[in-house]
């Protein structure tokens, strides 16, 4: 098997960068650890979970998807090709790798998104199994696991009490990466350390069943009461994928941007007439939960919440999908035990 010393991840990054990969890895920037482009000398921090996710590099916050020139009254479309750099997302979390499957599905459901697909094709995902978790992690409650290889091209697993990392290639892209790594990976034998224990927080099946029948429940008001309606949760979420398109023009050129958007923001569903079908924050928070745990599961047989806990770690107002699900699951259990449907 292929091994490297855990404190030499930066050497692996350097070897891959030398072979033409743009290396994305968790790097400290001030008080925050972010997935960012690795530069020589940067330390790779693997202790916690990065504030942002792999999504940022497959479906960026803003991208130009069209350009038009407006010379002399003529409206000429200029070709825009997606900027897809050969990339490796190194030492991302299994929940991040898992989210790529959700993105693959939604960006190829009714049409094939050329911009997403070009980036996805150029990206190799190397996850790092979690030996630690914090109180916000709940991947095991939504079908994931801290050692999952779902969505990954290769997995790194801690071994020898954290001294070493086992590099496990899983796909042709992962094997190509192992080859590119050359001497940064050594042959050897080691036993993987146990992965983190993440207790089951709720019964996802019970939650889904409740969601399917309780769109109008008065409980939504309680669940959403502390929400002040920003997009922080959606923008940190590895699987949230809603966007808005904006044309920015001057007299000579028009540029079409695709920018992230969020169902938490009031403008998201505002009609031209002034009517807003999701007129309250209660309705908007319900949409967030429903989309992840009811609509996408019904349509694609996937769960669109990976249990990474990013939203609950950063929500200034303490909202968390996990807490809403726990409340629903407790309610279902109480109803079941009380004999009412």
């Amino acid at each position: 098997m292929k091994l490297l010393r855990a404190d030499r991840l930066a050497e692996l990054a350097a070897a891959l960068a030398a072979r033409g990969y743009r290396v994305i890895a968790p790097i400290r920037q001030g008080r925050i650890v972010r997935l960012a482009e690795w530069r020589p000398g940067a330390a790779i921090e693997t202790a916690g979970i990065s504030a942002n996710s792999v999504k940022d590099f497959l479906f960026p916050r803003s991208e130009i998807i069209d350009r038009y020139s407006l010379n002399g009254g003529d409206f000429v479309q200029k070709e825009v090709t997606p900027e897809a750099i050969k990339t490796v997302a190194l030492a991302v979390r299994p929940c991040d790798a898992g989210s790529v499957s959700v993105l693959d599905t939604v960006f190829n459901w009714d049409s094939n998104d050329a911009f997403y697909n070009a980036r996805r094709e150029a990206c190799t995902v190397v996850s790092l199994a979690c030996v630690r978790a914090d109180e916000h992690c709940f991947c095991t409650s939504v079908g994931g696991s801290p050692g999952s290889s779902e969505g990954a091209d290769a997995v790194l697993r801690a071994a020898g009490g954290g001294e070493q990392l086992i590099f496990e290639p899983l796909t042709p892209k992962g094997r190509a990466l192992a080859e590119a790594a050359g001497g940064a990976l050594a042959e050897g034998e080691a036993a993987a350390d146990p992965v983190a224990e993440i207790p089951l927080r709720f019964d996802i099946k019970a939650v889904r069943d409740w969601l399917a029948g309780n769109f109008e429940s008065p409980l939504w008001q309680e669940f959403a009461s502390a929400c002040l309606g920003c997009g922080a949760c959606a923008y940190a979420c590895p699987s949230c994928h809603c966007f808005d398109m904006q044309d920015e023009s001057n007299r000579k050129e028009s540029v079409r941007y695709r920018n992230w958007d969020s169902c938490g923001l009031a403008l998201f569903t505002l009609h031209t007439s002034g009517h807003n079908p999701r007129s309250t924050q209660t309705a908007r928070w319900r949409q967030r939960v429903m989309h992840k745990l009811s609509y996408i599961p019904q349509r694609f047989n996937l769960t669109a919440c990976m249990g990474c806990g990013r939203c609950s770690r950063l929500c200034p107002n303490g909202l968390a999908i996990s807490e809403t699900c726990e409340k629903i699951a407790r309610l279902c259990k109480a109803n079941h035990e009380g004999g009412t449907p």
Partner: protein, 270 residues
């Protein structure tokens, strides 16, 4: 009685007597403090208060779901009290709609109306201890050349994802149609490229000139770690220097950016 017990007792009393239909307070969630909107007196024992309570609960007063429940009570330390006075001065709180559960430094002042809150602030909390570290950074920014300063803020704003957590966290951001939400025409680009992020962050800071109570909720809410308090403090220093204005101490005060006096300096007009 401890401060927390006193808050719980007053919250329960206000809810039981109907003097408040909702209490906006803080609760523990996984070792951190989070807002709680309490409608039932039986839940009052969930309320907590300590120095970690950094959300400015006055921000909830713009939420229609909360306004429908007026009168409400708000657990408030001095910066939140100043925000409530500012909101009242800007006609955002109907008379009698808000009772303040006023928590001072190591002291609970009881359930007060807004006039008593403003008086308390003037008498006991008129001179908040300056944040020396923040002031040092303000001086650092002030000492930069214009080009250096532009480069510094451009670099800081480049991390902004335009999630608007800063706006949501701020009680002063009660505009129903914030300029950054206006899209016919699109005043501020929603792209995360420099023209949009710079315009948004500077517009936000300007609009809070003389209105910001320096509570710190925006910076605490920012997932990207932008130094928003540094920006706010730079603006606050100009406001203090140019206009001798402070906000949040007087229910009759005129908002700085919404008022004009004949003696105002117009030397900047060229």
């Amino acid at each position: 009685m401890s401060i927390v017990d006193a808050i719980r007792a007053d919250a329960a009393g206000l809810l039981q007597t109907g003097r408040a239909k909702l209490v906006l307070g803080y609760r523990n969630r996984q070792g951190r403090r989070a807002p709680i909107l309490l409608a039932d007196a039986a839940g009052a024992d969930q309320l907590v208060y300590d120095a970690e309570c950094r959300q400015n609960l006055a921000a909830y007063l713009r939420k229609p779901e909360v306004r429908q429940q007026f009168p409400v009570a708000v657990v408030a330390g001095p910066p939140v009290m100043r925000s409530l006075v500012m909101l009242s001065a800007e006609s955002q709180i109907p008379a009698g709609a808000v009772t303040v559960l006023a928590v001072g430094e190591n002291e609970y002042h009881g359930a007060l109306d807004l006039a008593a809150t403003a008086q308390l602030l003037r008498e006991k909390y008129a001179d908040p201890a300056p944040d020396e570290e923040l002031l040092r950074r303000v001086r650092e920014v002030a000492a930069m050349s214009e080009e250096e300063r532009a480069a510094f803020w451009t670099e800081q704003f480049s991390k902004c994802t335009r999630c608007h957590a800063c706006r949501s966290a701020c009680p002063g951001c009660y505009c129903q149609w914030c300029i950054s939400k206006r899209n016919v025409p699109q005043w501020i680009s929603t792209a995360d490229l420099s023209h949009g992020t710079f315009a948004w962050n500077i517009t936000r800071a300007f609009h809070h000139a003389g209105r910001c109570t320096l509570c710190g909720a925006c910076e605490a809410a920012c997932p990207q770690g932008l130094p928003l308090m540094l920006l706010n403090a730079c603006v606050a220093e100009c406001v203090e220097k140019e206009f001798g204005h402070r906000t949040g101490y007087d229910l009759e005060e005129k908002p700085l950016i919404g008022s004009w006096r004949p003696e105002d300096d117009d030397g900047f007009v060229r």
